[in-house]
Structure formats: C-alpha cells, structure tokens
C-alpha cells in the first residue's frame, strides 16, 4: 500500500492520466479497426522525429538552467545550417556530380553548419543565462520567441538560387516549407526514398516488415545520440555538470566552476537542438521555416516532463518514455477522434492542453518544494 502511494506521488497524477489516456486511445483505435502495424509505425516515426529535440532538454536541466525553452536558438541554428547546406549542394550541383552521395553530403554539411552555429550561439546564450540565474525559464522563453521573430526577418531577406528553398519569381525570401524530397528527406527513415535513391547494400536503412515500417537508420542515429549523452553524463565532466545543476555551493566547494558548467550544458543543449531539428526535418521530409518552430520548445519541454523529469533532474529514460507517450497520444488521437466526433483540430487542442498543463504542473511542484 505504501509503495503504491509513493509510486503515485513520484509518478504524479497528470502522468498517470496521460499514460492511462494513451492506453485508452490505443485500445480504442484497435477496437475501431485501425491497423495496429500502421498506427505503431506512425508512433515510432514520430517518436524518433521528436526524440533528439527532447533529448536536448537533458543537458540543460542537468546543468541547472531548468527547462530550456530557448531551444529555439538551437533549432534556428540547425535550420540555418540545413538551408546553407542545401544551397551549396544546389550551387555545386551535387545531385549530378555525386549521385547517391549527394543527400548524404548535404545532410552531413547541414549537421556540420548547424552544430558549429549552435555551439557559438549556445555559448553566448549560456553566458546570458548565467546573468539571470533564478529566472532562466522566463527569460529563455522570450529569448526563444525573439530569436524566431528575428529569424523570420532573416528568412525573408535571404535570396537563394535553390528553387526548393526560395519563392519562385520573387528573387528574395525563402519558402514557408521547403521540400527535402530532392535532398536528404527520408534518407534514414523512409523505405521508398531509400529504395529509390540508394544502392541495394544500404536498403537496410529503412524497410518494411508487413505493414510495419522500420526506420533503422534513424533508430541507430537516435540511439547513438542517446548513448553519447548517456556517456557524457557519466564522464568526469558530465558528473561535474550534473553536480553544478543540483547544488552550486557543493560543486563550487569541490573546485568546479559552476558557471562554466552551466554554459557547457546550455551549449550542448543548443547543439542537440540543432541536430534535433535536422533529424526532424529529415524524417518529416520538409524544412519548416518562419513561425513553425515557435512552440517546438514547449513540445520538447512537455515531453520530457511527461516522461517523469522534473525542472531539476532528467534522465535519458525520461526522454524515451515522455516522447513516446506524448507523440503516441497525438498520433493515435487523430484517427480515433475523427472516427468518433469528426473534429479535425481536436488533437491540436489536446496537444495544447496536455503540453501546457504538464508544464504548469511541473512548475507548481518545484516552487512548492522551494518554499
């Protein structure tokens, strides 16, 4: 009885509701006759699509900056990297000169640019956050919004040659959504793309088992990133960083510069954000510019909280569970809701209520402890 109670307290009512709701939706969708394989393929795809963006929350939380609503900085860096890589690939005409290697090189270049930019931006951002200790979340939310608004101006001012990116006939400004189908879209996750563009020995990257799609390439990449973060958190540096996030005085008294560790955590979080958005775009098949990433930070924050993280502590398992539950609900809700009430926007409403509700819940929890 007591263990049940502590389990309940640790798990929290909202999480219990969300998990229950997910199970309910899954059962309902199966009863309603949807193919479980198709449904689960979709869940897995969305899980991996958002996974890295949620993973980006871990170093931020561990280093003590709290929920990194400012992940938009990383996202913007990643998008800029992707856009630059695509333009270079177009200018150099890699599709003809490199053939099957072109999307790979574009992807790598996008990651390269994105990571470099994010590392610089993240460091500066970390320095800012060190000056606003105690209000990181409020500040980072608005810094995130500002950056998206600023990038809107940038997107609008860029004039690129690549027709996939720029508006036709306008000479200035990039599209709202740029298709990646001619580039690295689906390269790691879409069986059709892999079979069409890649040689046979790479067909294992994404394949189908019956109706179930296995995006093995993406799974491996995501698993690799999780492993990297896991290793980092167990390294000397990562342990020091986690210490800095948990107790600044303790860590200082062990001879560690807490501010540097916070910058490190913020930087890694931002870099993961950049990698995350590129993997997201890769899976989705489109690059979404302008206001599309505005609320992505909220989704990431909500996911990791649903997974059981707090404002101060997060683990890889929180990422995996949280993303699965959150995306799982959104994916399964759509067909079920459509079948029952025919309101197409309901899953979107659900997303807003769940994500903000869980953030609110987490905030009220921590402040309660602090007093």
């Amino acid at each position: 009885m007591k263990t049940l109670k502590t389990f309940y307290e640790n798990f929290g009512l909202p999480r219990l509701i969300i998990a229950g709701f997910f199970i309910l939706l899954v059962v309902a969708s199966i009863i309603l006759g949807f193919s479980p394989a198709v449904l689960f393929s979709d869940v897995v795809k969305r899980w991996l699509m958002y996974g890295t963006l949620v993973l980006a929350m871990v170093p931020g939380i561990q280093s003590g900056i709290g929920l990194n609503f400012g992940i938009s900085l990383g996202i913007s860096s990643g998008l800029l990297g992707a856009v630059l890589a695509m333009e270079i690939s177009f200018l150099r005409d890699w599709n003809t000169t490199l053939g099957m290697g072109a999307p790979w090189l574009t992807l790598l270049l996008a990651l390269f640019f994105g990571v470099i930019l994010a590392a610089i931006v993240g460091t500066l951002y970390g320095m800012l956050l060190n000056r606003v200790k105690g209000s990181e979340m409020t500040v980072s939310t608005y810094v995130g919004f500002s950056v998206i608004a600023f990038m809107n101006i940038v997107w609008l001012s860029l004039s690129f040659k690549n027709g996939e990116l720029s508006w036709p006939l306008q000479g200035q400004g990039l599209r709202n959504t740029a298709s990646l189908s001619g580039s690295f879209g689906g390269l790691l996750s879409n069986p059709d793309v892999v079979q069409a563009t890649q040689p046979k020995w790479l067909h294992w990257l994404a394949f189908r088992v019956g109706e179930f799609t296995v995006p093995l390439g993406l799974i491996l990449v995501f698993a690799f990133l999780c492993l990297l973060v896991w290793l980092f958190l167990r390294s000397k540096s990562g342990i020091a960083m986690s210490g800095a996030g948990e107790n600044q005085l303790f860590t200082t008294s062990s001879g560690i510069n807490v501010n540097q560790k916070r910058i490190q955590g913020t930087m890694i979080s931002t870099v993961l954000g950049a990698v995350g958005i590129i993997l997201y775009a890769q899976t989705y098949g489109f690059l979404q510019l302008y206001n599309a990433p505005l609320m992505m930070g909220f989704a990431s924050v909500a996911s990791i909280l649903i997974g059981g993280a707090t404002v101060r502590r997060a683990r890889i398992s929180n990422v995996l569970i949280g993303t699965l539950l959150f995306q799982g609900i959104l994916v399964t809700a759509l067909p079920v809701v459509n079948e029952v009430v025919e309101i197409g926007t309901l899953p979107e409403v659900l997303r807003i209520i769940i994500s903000n509700g869980i953030i609110l819940y987490a905030l009220s929890k921590t402040k309660g402890e602090n007093q």
């Binding site: 000056r131 606003v132 919004f145 608004a149 009430v341 807003i352």
Partner: protein
Amino acid sequence: MNQKNNLFKKVGSFIFDNKVMIAFAAICLAAIVLSGSPMTFIVDGVFTRITRNTFTVLALIIPVLAGLGLNFGIVIGAVAAQIAVFWVVYWGFGGFSGILLTVLIATPLAILFGYLVGKLFNQMKGAEMIAGLILGYFADGLYQLLFLVIIGGVIPVNNPKLIISQGVGVKNTIDLTGNLKYAIDSVRMVDIITVFFYAVLAITVIKIILHLVKKLKLSRSDFILFGVSALIFGVSYIPEIERFLSTDRLALLDAFTSALVILAILQIIKLIKSIWVEKEPASALVKPVLLLLVYGALYGLTYIPAVEEVMLYVKLPVLPFLLIAALCWFNQKILSVRLGQNMRTVGQSLSVAMASGINADQTRVIAMVISTVLASWGQIIFLQNIGTFSTYGAHTQIAQFAIAALLVGGASVQKATNKQAIIGVILFHTLFIVAPQAGKELFNNAQIGEYFRVFVSYGVIALSLAMHAWKQFRKTSQSTPGDMALPGAPLQEAVDGGS
C-alpha cells in the same frame, strides 16, 4: 553655473530613466519618415488603436504594483469576455444593452478565473510570469475545447451563422455588425451626461439620507460634484450644445480644444486661489502662468494647416476614452486606500508584509481578480471596436502586445504607471501601423516590416525580463546562503513565517 549643472544632471537622468522609451520613439520616428504614409492615416490609426488597447494595458498596472510582475495571465480575462460575447450574440442581444449584458456575464467569470489564477500564483511565488504565460496557453487550450467541441457538441447550439455546418464547434469569425459593433463607441455624449447626472443625483440623495439617519458627515466636495454635474446637465439642454453633444464621435480638434480649455480653467482657478485665498508669493505663480502660455501655444498649433487637417480628420469615440480615463483614475485612487498600500507593501517585500500582519496571499489574489476583470472589460472594448470577433485568435496575442506596449512606455517588471501605459500604447502602435510600409520602402518587402514589429514586441519583453532577472540575481548574490547561519535565525524565520 550650479543650476546649469543641475539641469544637465536632470536631463541626463531623464534620458537614462527613459532610455527604452526614447530609443523606441526614435525607431518610430525613423519608421514614420521611411514609410512616407500620410499623417492623417497614421494619427487616425494610432487613435483607433488607443481606443482598442489602452484599457487592457492599464489592466496590467495593479499586478505590477502588488509584486506579481507582468501579468501574462490577462489572456484569461480576455477569454472570459469572449465567452460572454459569444452567448450575448447567440441570444441575439445588441447595442448598449447587449454590452451591459456582456459585462454582466463576463465580470463574474473573470472574478472566478482571477481568483483561481491568484490562488495558483500563490503556489508559485517568484515564478508568476512564466506560470502566467503557460497558463495563458493552457487556458487557450481549454477555450478551444469549449468552442470547438463543447459548444454544439455537448451544449446544443443551433445557429448556422455561429456554428460550423456540421453542427459542432463555433466558426472562426463572428461578425459583430448589427449587434455589438461600436456599441460602446457610439454612445452619444448627451446620454453619457444624462446618465452621469442621474448617477450623481442618486448618490447625493443616498448620502443625504445617510447623513440624516446615521449622522454621517457630508463633505463640501459632494455638493460641488453635484453642482457641477447639474450645471453640465442643464447646459446640455441649450439647443446649440445639444446638437453638438448628440453626436457619438468627437473630432480630435474639438477634443483637444476642450481638453485645453478644461486644463486652462483648472490653472486659472489655481491662480485665483493662490493670489486671493492663500496669498502665496509671486514665485508660486510662475508655473501656472507658464502652463497657461503653453496651452495657448498648443492651441495656436492647431491653426497650422497640416495639423488642422489631421485633427479634423480624426474622430474619437467618446465613451471608450472616458472609460480609459476612469481606469487611470482608479489605478491612481487605489493607492490612497488601505488595499493599495497593502499591495505596495506586498510588492516590495512579501516577508515584511506578512510580518506586519498583512494578509499577503489575499492581497495578491485581489490584485489578480482586479486585473483579470479589467482585462475582460478591455477585451469587450476591443471587440466592439474591431467589429469582427476572431473566435480563436482575438485573445492569443493580447498579453504579448499589451505587455510589450507597457514596457515600451518605460515600465519594468517592478514599476508601471498610467503615463507609461499610455505613452507605450502610442509608441508601440505607431510602430505597428507604419512598420509594414517602412519595410516596403526600405527593403521593398512589407512583410519584413511586419516581422520586424513582431520581433520588437518579443525583443522588448525579453530585454526587460533579462534586465529584471539580472538585477534580482545581483541582489541575491550579494546576500548569499551564508545568511542562513546568522545568529538568532530561528527566531527570524519564525517571524517571517508568522501570521
């Protein structure tokens, strides 16, 4: 020499204290010049937006006073108003009685919401702003659930004008033409005066009765107020004046002139008082005389053709401006009562307030209730002026824009005044009006201007929050945790936690 130095210092500190405002004014000016839009267009647009938005911005002041920071939760007040507007439109009410009904429904809802928000904020002291922001989004989700699913889905509502064709969910936009549109804007001046007179009459009668029954003291000001209102009421029967007052809009020129006349009369009364009643030295007369000269000069300005053209072109709705003035008066007046002083104390130091026996939690909840109610009224004013109610969009940005406007006026997380709110609204919305055109002229792309203004609105909030946080952080890092080991600490803590 010394005086000159002083002047320099004064100007210097004025610039420093108002740096945000001045920088923004410069941006606005540049944008106006770049856009090349006609002044009639700009001034008219700015005044329209002042009508619409000032009330909501003023609703932010009380939470700042009470130490709750910028109230991102005003979205919830707006939601209360929108729920009321929907039902009033659905029931087919319109005109001013429709507005009254809307207020009647919105106010209790806003009180309830404000109370809940206040309770929640008491659970998250120090994180009110982020909580308010998230709460706004959360409330938006619940609101969408109500309007998309429950209305029509659970509560049967049958009105093809309001409901999506499948019968569940409210349409994206609701046209307010013919019911609530301009219902406040179009109230005639003469009606306002009549209502005002009867209200004062009623209050005076009640006071006299109380005086007779309970021996309550009647003050001179009560009679003066009654006299003035009776005078205005009487004057309004003069046919010439009645015709003038029968309109609902006031040309900016007339508004400006009457404002100058009223101000001049006040100064003249002051002059008379200080010369004949208080017999003050001549030096005390300098200021009123100077002010009178300034008013005269300002009036003279209206004869410049360009100015005159603008001032005749722009027409102001009267009642919204009176409501804005009333709210300014309220924000000011609340400081002179106990509640206001309690709010200031709570805003300055929660622990000291509690140790002095002030019920801090209650005070904070009251502040949130007031702010939420005011925000809901502000949203009603906004919607009736715009005339189309965008069901899912009208409330989403109000906190964002209202807060940005307040900050542009020079307010901070800890200090905000009526003046800052009004200046902020003017500057912020000037930029909003001219930015697209300026963007088009400058970059050949109107959208850049649009994005720029959004960037500015986010940026000014980010900057202000960061500066506040920095200040807080520096303050706390000066008194580090070592303080806990102070002698006598237990007693101190117990005092803090007391009552």
